[in-house]
Structure formats: C-alpha cells, structure tokens
Point group: C11
Chain length 73, copies 11
C-alpha cells in the first residue's frame, strides 16, 4: 500500500506555519525599514535570521517527506 | 491504489501558509509606501524578498506534489 | 478507484490561504488610499502585485487539481 | 464509488479563505468611508476589486467542484 | 454508498469563512456608526454589500450541498 | 451505512465561523456602547442585524444537518 | 456500525467557534467596565446577549449530537 | 467496533475554542487590573463569568465524550 | 481494533486551545508588569488563575485520553 | 494493526498550540525589555513561567504519544 | 500496513505552531531593534531564547516522527 506516499504528502504541510511566520517577520522588517531607513542592514539581517529559524520547521517536514518518498520501503 | 495521487493533492496545501504570509508582507509594504513614498524602491524589494522566502514553503509542497504525481511509482 | 478525484478536490483548497492573503493586501490598500488619495495609482499597482504573489499559491493548487482531473490516469 | 462526489463537497471549501478575505476588505472599506466620506466612490470600487480578487479563489473551488459533479465520470 | 451525503455535509462548511467575514464587516460597521452617526445610512448599506459578498462563498457551499443531496444520483 | 449520519454531524460545524463572527460583532457593540452610551439603541440594533447575518451561515449548516437526519434516506 | 456515534462526537465541535466568540465578547466587556465603571450594568447585559447569540451555534451542535446519540437509530 | 470510542476522543476537542476564549478574557482582565487596580474585584468577577460562559462549550464536549464512553452501548 | 488508541491520541489535542490561551494570558501579564511593576504580585496571581482556567480544557482532553488508554476496554 | 502508532503521531500535534503560545509570550517579553530594560530580569522570569505553562499542553501530547509508542500493546 | 509511516508524516506537523510562534517572536525582535538599536544584543538573545522554546514543540514532533520511521516496528 501507498500510505507511505500519503504520509509524504502530509509531512510537507508543516510548511504552513513557516509560511505564516516568515510573513509576519518580513512584514515587521518592512515596518522597521520605513521607520528607520538607516538601520535597514541590521533589520534585514535580523529578518533573514528570523525567517531561517521559521524555515527550520518547514525543513523538518520536507526532510520527513523525502525520507518517506525515497529512504523508507 | 491511488493514495499516491491523494498525497499529491494534499501536499500542495502547504501553500496555505505562504498565501497568508505573502498577504501580510504585501499589506505591510503598502503601509510603508503610504507613509514613506520616497522609499518605495527599497520597500518593494524587501517585499519581494519576504514573499520569496514565504514562497519557498509553497514550493516545497508543489515539489513533493509533482514528485508524487510523476516521479514515484 | 477515484482517490485521484478526491485528491483533485483537496488540492484546490490551497486557495484558502490566498483568499485570506489577498483580503489583507486589499484591505491595506484601501487604508492607504484613504490616507494618501494622491498615491492611489502606486498603491493599486502594489496591491495588484501583492495579490498576484498570493494568487500563485492558489494557482499551484488549481494546477495540481487539473492535472489530477485530466492528465493523470 | 462516489469519492468523486465527496471530492466535489471538499473542493467548494476553498471559499473559506475568500469569505474571510472579503470580510477584511469590506471592513476596511467601511473604515475608510467613515474617515473620508467624500472618497467613498473610489473606496467602494477598490473594495469591489479586492473582493473580486479574493473571490477568484472561491471560484477555483466551485469550478473544480462542478467539474467533479458533472464533467468527470 | 452514501459518500454523496457525506460530501453534502462537508460542502456546507464553506460557510465558516463567511461567518467570520460577516462578523468582521458588521463589527467595523458598528465602529463606524459610533464615530460618524450621521453617516449610518451609507455605512449600513456598505455593510450589507460586504456581507452579501461574503455570503456568496457560503451560498456556493450550500448550492453544492443541495446538488449533492437532491440533484445527483 | 450511516455515512448520512456522519454527514449530519459534520454539517452543523458550519456554526464555527458564525460563533466567532457573532463574538466579533458583539464585542464591537460593547466597545461602541462604552464610547457612545446615548447611541446604544442604534448600536444594539446593528449588532442584532450583524449577528443575524452571521447566523445565516450556521443555519445553512443546521438545515443541511436536519435534512440529512430526517429527510434523506 | 457506529458512524452515528462518531457523528455525535464531531457535531459537538461546533462549540469551538462559540468558545472563541464568547471570549472576545467577554474580553471587550471587561475593557468597557474598566473604562466606564458606571455603565457596567448595561455592558454586562450586552455581554450576556452577545454570549447567548454565540452560544446558539454551540447549541445547534449539541442538539444534533444528542439527536444522533438518542433519537436516531 | 470502537467508533464510539473514537467519537469520545473527538468530542472533547470542543475545548479548543474555550481554551482560546478563556485566554482572551483573562488577558483582558489583567489589562484591566493594570489600568484600574481599584476595580480588580469587579474585573475578576466579570472574568470568572466570561470564563464560565466559555467553559460551557468545553463542558458540552466533555459531556458528549463521557456519554460516548460510558452511557451508550 | 485499536480505534480506542487512535481516540486517545486525538483527545489530547484539546490542549491546542489551552496552549494558545495561556500564551495570550502570560503575554498580557508581561505587558502589565512592564507598565505597573509594583502590581506584579496581583498580576502574576491573576495570570496563574487565568492559565489554570485555560488548563482545565487541556485537562479534560488528557482525562479522556487516559480513560481511553487505561480504563475502557 | 498500527492505529496505535497513528495515534502516537497525532497526539504530539498538541504542541501546535504551545508553539504559538510561547511565541506570543516571548514576543511580549521582547516588547517589555525594549520599553523597560531595567526590568529585564523580572520580565524574563515571567516569560519562562508563561512558556512553561504553555509547554505543559505540549508535554501532555508527548506523554500520550510515548505511552502509545512504548507502554500500550 | 504502513500506518506507522502515515503517523510519521502527521507527527512532524507539530512544527506548524512553532513556525508561527517563531515568526511572532522574530517580528517583535525587529520591532524592538528599530525602537532601541542600542539594545539589539539583549533583544537578539531573548529572540533566540524564545525561538528555542518554540522550537521544542517542533522537536517533539520530529522526535516522534523519527521514532515512528526508524525505531518502532
């Protein structure tokens, strides 16, 4: 049976939270750049850090999904 | 059985988070352009960056979905 | 079995996020037009850009849904 | 089997996001009309545009649902 | 099998988004009437318009639900 | 089989959105009464109107649920 | 089969929306009492009215749940 | 079959809404106590009332869950 | 069959709402301590009360889950 | 059958609420440290307390998940 | 059967909450850096602490997922 493949399709959904989270971070970064344009370097680097931290949760899902697709029989 | 194809239909739902996230980023960008029209270039480029970061989570889902549709038997 | 068709019905749900996201963008655009009516051209074009970026996540879902309906056997 | 019909019932749920999104847009439009009554024409037309963009995601779901009901066997 | 009837039960859930959306619109309308009582006619008519636009997404779900209940065999 | 009855149990969930929506409307009405006590009649009537509009989406679900329970075999 | 009983378990979930909605209403009522302590009678009665309106959606779910438990065979 | 017991597990989830709602009420109560410490008695009693109203929706779910566990065969 | 154990796994999810609710309460408590440090005792005790009220909904789920795991056969 | 293991996979999802809740608490703590840097000790300890209270709901899920994995046959 | 692998795919979804939570924390951190650039060290370290606390809930899910993939037969 292909429940393994169904699991692969479900696992990647963990990116839903990351997608919302990165949106919140990036939105706040734009807010910050508007109010303090001279600090845009620091703001952008904090935004990248925050987005990377959110992204980890999507990566976990992608990892489990790829394991289910290719590594487990 | 077609559980593989059901998985493909589910995997693409990871775009739900990205859809909300990009909406938050773009909304903040409009806010920013209204308050600081002269910074609209920088704001738009940060918006594109943020939206691209959100989009990655939708792309993971699309990727797994396409693998399930065409690459896995 | 018709799990393929069930998958098609599920895939199109990725538009849920886009629907919320476009609402956020458009709402902010109206906010902007109220505060800076003279910038309404620029605001509307950023709104269209943001909505188009959100829409991509709905399009991925529609695409997978149509593939499941018509292209995969 | 009737999984096709179950899929039709699920597909139309993509309107959930649009329902929330249109609510956000319309709420902001009312906000705008209260603050700038003289701009109500422009605000209402932007509201209709935003609602139409949200509605597309509901239409995708309705479309897939109707295809599942009547066009696919 | 009665998957057709299960689909009818699911389809009507598309009203969830509309229920939230109409709540947002009506809440903003009350806000507006409090701040600009003399504009309550215009506010109420925009509220009805916004609620009607949200309602469309619930109607799609009801329509598909009724088709599944009575029109499809 | 009793999928008909499972569908009845699911259909009534469309009240989830209405429950949140009515909460938003009523909360805003209390806000309004606090700020403009002399307008409480108008505010309460708009609140009832908004809640009734939200309630329609719950009624659709209840209607489909009762049809599934008693009218369809 | 006991799908009837599974349906009963699902139907009562319509209280999720009401739970959130009543929370919003009650929170706003506390806000109001803090700002206008002398209006607390009117605020509390509007809060009870709003909570009762939210509660209807939970009652629909409880009603369907009890029908599924005891009235339908 | 144990679908009865699965239903019991699902029914208790109606507490999700109450959990969020009580959080909103209690958070607003803390806000109020900070701004009007001398009114903390009245605020706490309104908070308890609001939390109790939210709790009803969790109790409905617990009730149905216990009926499914112990009263229905 | 192990549907009993699946039900146990689902029942404990009622903690999702409590987790969000406690977060809202605790966040407001920090807000309060920042604005009124001298009232931190009262704020912390209200926070504990609010969190305990939220926790009840998680406890209901844990209780049903443990009954399903150990008490029901 | 492995429904026991499926239940273990579902039970751990109760951490979703805790993840959001801890995010709200920590975000408010940062807000507080920015406004009252001299109170950062007290703020951090309240943040840890709040996060620990949220975490309990995730622990319940992990506990049930581990029981399902290792203790129940 | 592969329900074990389906469970692995579901368990990793507990990262959804963490993804949103980390987004909230990081967004607030950017807010803080904009308002108090000289406190950015302390803000960033609190952000990392908050994100790590959120991350625990995603780790629980990943842990259960890996146990289901590799440790349980």
């Amino acid at each position: 049976m292909d429940l393994r493949l169904l699991g692969a399709g479900i696992a990647v959904l963990s990116g839903i939270g990351a997608g919302i989270g990165i949106g919140i971070v990036s939105g706040k970064a734009i807010d910050g750049i508007v109010r303090q344009p001279e600090a845009s370097g620091k703001i952008t680097s904090t935004m990248i850090l925050g987005a990377a931290l959110c992204e980890t949760t999507a990566i976990y899902g992608l990892l489990v999904s790829l394991i289910l697709l290719f590594a487990v029989k």
